[in-house]
């Protein structure tokens, strides 16, 4: 199914790989596709372990997925959504809704183009705003979750489309596999639902904004995940 009012701004990162592969797998084809790319834009291969099978293929480049499925796309030489050529490309898109796959914090100019950017954040907001939230929630609550919301200038404060909790993973590559997969799973849910009903984030005393996790805490979260696997 071609999504008439939904476009996507892809990069060459893992999140883009997970998003486009899982959208295509679920026959949800964005009506307009823009790919931001500079140079070859290829990532280093990673070993695909048994646990990852069925989530997405981290070694399939975004452009290959697009070509494999004969999807039309426009390439823009950029890596950041705020670059002038990206703004021009977005201006030219007809879709009201654009799926965001990363590429910098969106600034006023791009946010003022009348598009609604859908961001899937790897944490339940407002409790977990900011960076690498899944690690923090694994340590603090032994669970994790994701939130889809419309982006606005302030970080992670936009109106919520959906939230979903996830069981903690039983593998260790949370940055490159679990995080993008979890986001893609919720993205598929909301796109499939066909409803972009939004609601403001609740005011909460529990709200917190986290910064990129220190490896000592990251190691703890990963070891905890692997321990659960062992005890199963």
């Amino acid at each position: 199914m071609i999504l008439k009012d939904v476009g996507i701004v892809l990069l060459t990162n893992m999140r883009s790989k997970a998003f486009i592969q899982n959208l295509v797998k679920n026959d949800l084809i964005p009506g307009e596709i823009v790919l931001l790319k500079k140079g070859e834009g290829k990532s280093n291969p990673i070993s695909v372990l048994q646990h990852y099978e069925g989530l997405f293929d981290p070694n399939e480049e975004v452009e290959n997925t697009l070509k494999l499925h004969n999807l039309e796309y426009k390439t823009v030489e950029a890596t950041d959504c705020n670059e002038p050529n990206v703004i021009e490309a977005v201006k030219g898109m007809k879709s009201k809704y654009l799926i965001y796959c990363g590429g910098g914090i969106l600034e006023k100019e791009i946010l003022s183009l009348g598009k609604k950017f859908i961001h899937v954040h790897p944490g339940i907001v407002p409790k977990y705003r900011g960076s690498t939230c899944f690690y923090y929630s694994i340590i603090a609550e032994k669970k994790c979750g994701a939130t889809a919301f419309f982006m606005e200038e302030k970080i992670d404060t936009g109106n919520v489309l959906a939230q979903k909790e996830y069981a903690i993973p039983n593998y260790s590559d949370l940055d490159r596999i679990f995080d993008p997969w979890m986001r893609s799973d919720l993205l598929v849910d909301i796109i499939r639902s066909g409803s972009f009903e939004e609601k403001p984030q609740p005011e909460s005393e529990d709200s917190e904004t986290y910064f990129i996790i220190h490896p000592v805490l990251k190691h703890l979260a990963i070891e905890y995940c692997l321990k659960q696997k062992m005890s199963c």
């Binding site: 923090y136 340590i139 603090a140 260790s172 940055d175 490159r176 917190e208 904004t209 986290y210 910064f211 990129i212 996790i213 220190h214 490896p215 000592v216 805490l217 990251k218 190691h219 703890l220 990963i222 070891e223 905890y224 321990k227």
Partner: protein
């Protein structure tokens, strides 16, 4: 494996902590690095000795005041300043703009680490511990005057205590 976060002066060459390592080798390198840094620092200073002291930089003085009078909003501001720029300026204006050209005063980093660790002990807010770990990396990566070593000793002792407790609360070996 070496613990890369203290291998060079992190005040001048900050680390982004993106896609950081993990695993048994990594955690062993972290422990070795901290143990090495703790050697030669001597006895940790008593907290009261810090609280009674006056600091030259406005930022250091204000962060020190947070130890006795905790205010998570203000502490959160300093954490954000540090996390975003990996530096603390000697002074900030009322609207939190940089109001100094100097970021080199190690007391600011020591006091922020200490404030974060003490507040983490009270609240268990992981954001505080996360920033303290990064600050301690920075502090272990620079040369400190003898007069500052006992403060770093206190920060490292506190870090060891809370990290060990946290690991054991999730039954994960450290």
């Amino acid at each position: 494996m070496q613990y890369e976060y203290t291998l060079q002066n992190r005040l001048e060459n900050s680390h982004k902590y993106e896609f950081s390592p993990y695993g048994k080798e990594f955690i062993s390198a972290y422990k070795d690095s901290r143990e090495e840094s703790r050697k030669g620092l001597g006895e940790a200073i008593k907290l009261d000795a810090i609280i009674d002291r006056k600091f030259e930089s406005d930022t250091a003085q204000k962060i020190k005041n947070l130890i006795r009078n905790p205010d998570d909003e203000t502490l959160g501001r300093y954490i954000k300043k540090y996390e975003v720029t990996k530096k603390l300026w000697n002074a900030y204006s009322a609207d939190w703009k940089r109001a100094s050209d100097d970021y080199s005063d190690p007391y600011q980093y020591l006091l922020l680490s200490l404030s974060c660790l003490l507040r983490y002990r009270e609240t268990k807010n992981l954001k505080m511990l996360n920033t303290a770990l990064k600050l301690n990396d920075l502090l272990c990566s620079i040369e400190l005057d003898d007069s500052l070593k006992s403060m770093l000793a206190l920060c490292l002792d506190l870090e060891k205590e809370v990290v060990s407790e946290l690991y054991s609360s999730l039954s994960v070996d450290l």
